[in-house]
Symmetry: C2
Subunit: 470 residues, 2 copies
């Protein structure tokens, strides 16, 4: 059991940041009113006591929830032996603000207690001048591990693995294994199995801890170990590995190289973090945010974080606007076109986003490949035709009632149907094409489909109107 579990008594963290903010406010109030030192000392003591009892992950949360000045006030009071753990837990932007507040000596002291895999996660965010001294303080194996972990992408197993494994030989008895384990004060967190290796440190199997308990101590390791086991490579895609953890209910798994040499281990806590981060990144990028934003960041930082997406959107909106510009003569003659055109574009965008969301998801789950494109087109075009006739028909009737022109209603229905068909065609086609080009089908898919259905919708509706109504 980790220290964390024995220290904290439940998940009910609600209100903790607020309680700490309230204390900080009271403290500022006392300072300003120049109240007695006793009152101040009391508040300080309570603040310190509250901070001391928090787990580093909870402290990280508190720090993220505080505006900069309060954040640094709390950061100064945090026990220095937790500094490294907290830096690991906070978001990138908050980490930056905390590190900016530390001098080189404090930084080195904070990160030295960390494991190699944890150091590798932090190194990129540390000031370059501390790196030589930090690296010099590590032994050769540690240094090698840090460099190995840093050589992988964030979404590869190599960047997520740790080195907290317990290895045993296969030619010993469980009795000997039990005696060996008793020499540890504590096994590494989340250890659910021991890794069995031979003389060349090639992985030959695994021994779940509880098999040690249910089997007789005089059995040999090789008799009871599981020889055929889920192993991963450092270069494996973490997304696939997370699926394997979910599928096979794994807690830890060995990481090996091409020759089955044991390199490290991957644990379910890293997978939980990874899945959570993935879904956050997805949510952020859909919203057009480049990275997680410190909610109390300056206006200028927020502007930089968001500008790329806005610029893309400006370009697509401008293109759509120029499409309308082609038909200004038609709009001058029949102003109802200007009123009705956003409906055609909007519904097309909505419907196209539905299709593309579903296809991208099915692709991520590998339920569908490029080979099935025809089948999917058939289905999605069918849905679009149905919706076009029904919803487009309804809107056509409304247009007729508003403007008293049956032909305007018919053009409206036809344009909606055609734009929905376009949305369905591109909603299937865009992700398929992305995959064929070796790109991530999720990235920017929503922007692309909306751009197509906006410009397409305006073109189809105004074009049909120009042909048939004027």
């Amino acid at each position: 059991m980790s220290e964390a579990e024995t220290r904290s008594s439940g998940p009910r963290l609600h209100g903790r940041p607020e309680a700490i903010v309230a204390l900080l406010r009271r403290r500022t109030g006392l300072l300003e009113s120049s109240a007695g030192d006793d009152a101040l000392a009391e508040v300080d003591a309570e603040l310190q006591a509250r901070l001391d009892e928090l787990h580093p992950a909870d402290l990280a949360d508190v720090l993220e929830a505080l505006p900069l000045e309060d954040r640094l006030a709390v950061w100064q009071r945090v026990k220095s032996d937790q500094d490294g753990e907290i830096l690991l837990e906070v978001s990138d932007s908050v980490r930056e603000s905390l590190i900016a507040d530390m001098d080189d000596r404090e930084i080195l002291a904070a990160v030295e207690p960390l494991d190699a895999d944890e150091l590798a996660d932090l190194v990129d965010d540390l000031p370059t001048e501390v790196l030589p001294e930090l690296m010099a303080s590590l032994d050769a194996q540690e240094r090698e591990r840090v460099q190995a972990a840093m050589s992988y992408e964030d979404d590869q197993v190599g960047a997520l693995m740790d080195f907290d494994m317990v290895t045993i030989r296969e030619d010993i008895s469980l009795e000997v294994v039990l005696r060996y384990l008793r020499r540890f004060d504590e096994l590494p967190a989340q250890t659910d199995k021991l890794f069995v290796v031979n003389n060349e440190s090639v992985l030959t199997g695994v021994l779940p801890l509880h098999w040690l308990l249910v089997n007789s101590p005089d059995k040999m390791v090789h008799e009871i170990m599981a020889p055929d086991v889920n192993t991963f490579r450092p270069e494996d895609d973490a997304y696939d590995v997370a699926q394997a953890f979910e599928r096979y209910d794994l807690v830890t798994a060995p990481v090996v190289d091409a020759n089955m040499h044991l390199i490290g281990r991957i644990a379910v806590d890293a997978m939980l973090d990874f899945i959570r981060e993935e879904s956050e990144t997805e949510a952020l990028s859909r919203g057009g945010l480049r990275e997680e934003e410190d909610i109390f960041a300056s206006v200028w930082k927020s502007v930089r974080n968001r500008w790329a997406w806005l610029a893309i959107n400006l370009v697509t909106a401008f293109i759509a606007s120029r499409v309308i510009g082609l038909f200004e003569h038609s709009i001058e003659k029949l102003v109802a076109l200007a009123t009705l055109m956003p409906i055609v574009a909007g519904i097309g965008g909505n419907s196209g986003n539905q299709t593309i969301t579903m296809i991208v998801r099915a692709m991520a789950l590998e339920q569908v490949g490029v080979s099935q494109v025809r089948r999917l087109w058939r289905k999605e075009l069918g849905v679009a035709l149905f919706n076009g006739v029904v919803w487009g028909g309804a809107i056509g009737v409304v247009a007729y009632l508003l403007y008293g022109s049956a032909s305007l209603g018919i053009v409206m229905t036809a344009a909606m149907t055609l734009n929905l068909l376009l949305a369905a065609f591109m909603g299937v086609g865009i992700p398929m094409l992305m995959v064929k080009l070796g790109r991530d089908p999720a990235l920017g898919s929503s922007v692309l489909i909306t751009a197509v259905t906006d410009s397409g919708g305006f073109f189809i509706f105004l074009g049909l109107a120009t042909l048939f109504l004027l």
Copy 2:
């Protein structure tokens, strides 16, 4: 170690559905060409061999990736002792298609080997006529557990817990515990700790398995157990519990009632599934899909799954259209307004979605509460003002160059700035109001903000133009 781990040798599942589809195709081809029975038998044997070696979770994946006719062909060939596990793993819509293909006898045989918590997950999808017989086949404790698990919402701990716990007394020695464990053939999957209870089955602590290994066998349980432990209640929100698992790197945790009576356990595999499903549901609802869609569902089923969102979108688009309708006279006089207005609305929508995404996320992580609304408004309005002046200025210059009217350019810049300010104001305000009203701030937030910035953008731009240009 679970059966799964020993059976499957890695996460590399790519191509498995395709391989099985290819075999099904070859089989159909052979049947049509009335080739020799030998060839057919060979294909059948290979198909069966491939299916037999798959883990239920992988089979579930294969079934989801197949069109209906192939899916049922594979389903018939799956070993019946895996049926229940597979039904648990597939998505709701695919489960429906599989159950529709089974008679009552097959269904009962499939679900009877399942645990109470698994049964509770399936019961809602089973035909009502099998339920009496199913319930009668359970013993009293099992029946009670199924009913208990069914009484909780999908996002409460009670619906996610299982009953696979090993309990011990605190007044015995580790020696006795070890002897007790040796009577098991296998401990429940993911067991990382034993739960310590007293005579009244009140939880008094936990004993991590590996403490059994590193401590001397003659110590007593109460000497070494961790008394202060993360416990959860069945009515706890699973989202909070998932955060606790992530924070404290838990593998399992006890579930207790208000009097600390041990009820069940919650394990990290259930948490992984929950987080994954949460992020999927979020992605789907953003796309306007009511539920996970069987990618090979009929056109009609897809239409039903998607109609609600389309209908909402139609209403908001119609409202925006009527706002434009108010200014038809202005557009008749100056048709450039019709061309430029979608830019104002589009950029406002994009920017508002950025703000609301960030706020909703920070609220979910409890980094920000209603008390900070002023601070957030100040910052977001600052960002909006900056973007309005810069991007709005750029677009104003373009409008001037296109139409040769400086006043049109100024109106464009002013309208963009005002709509961005509106987007920022509502982007903070909408989720805050939702929380005050006790609603989920994520639900429909994107639709709402887009509706506001569309109608608002048209109104602001056309209104300003009517006032100052005509």
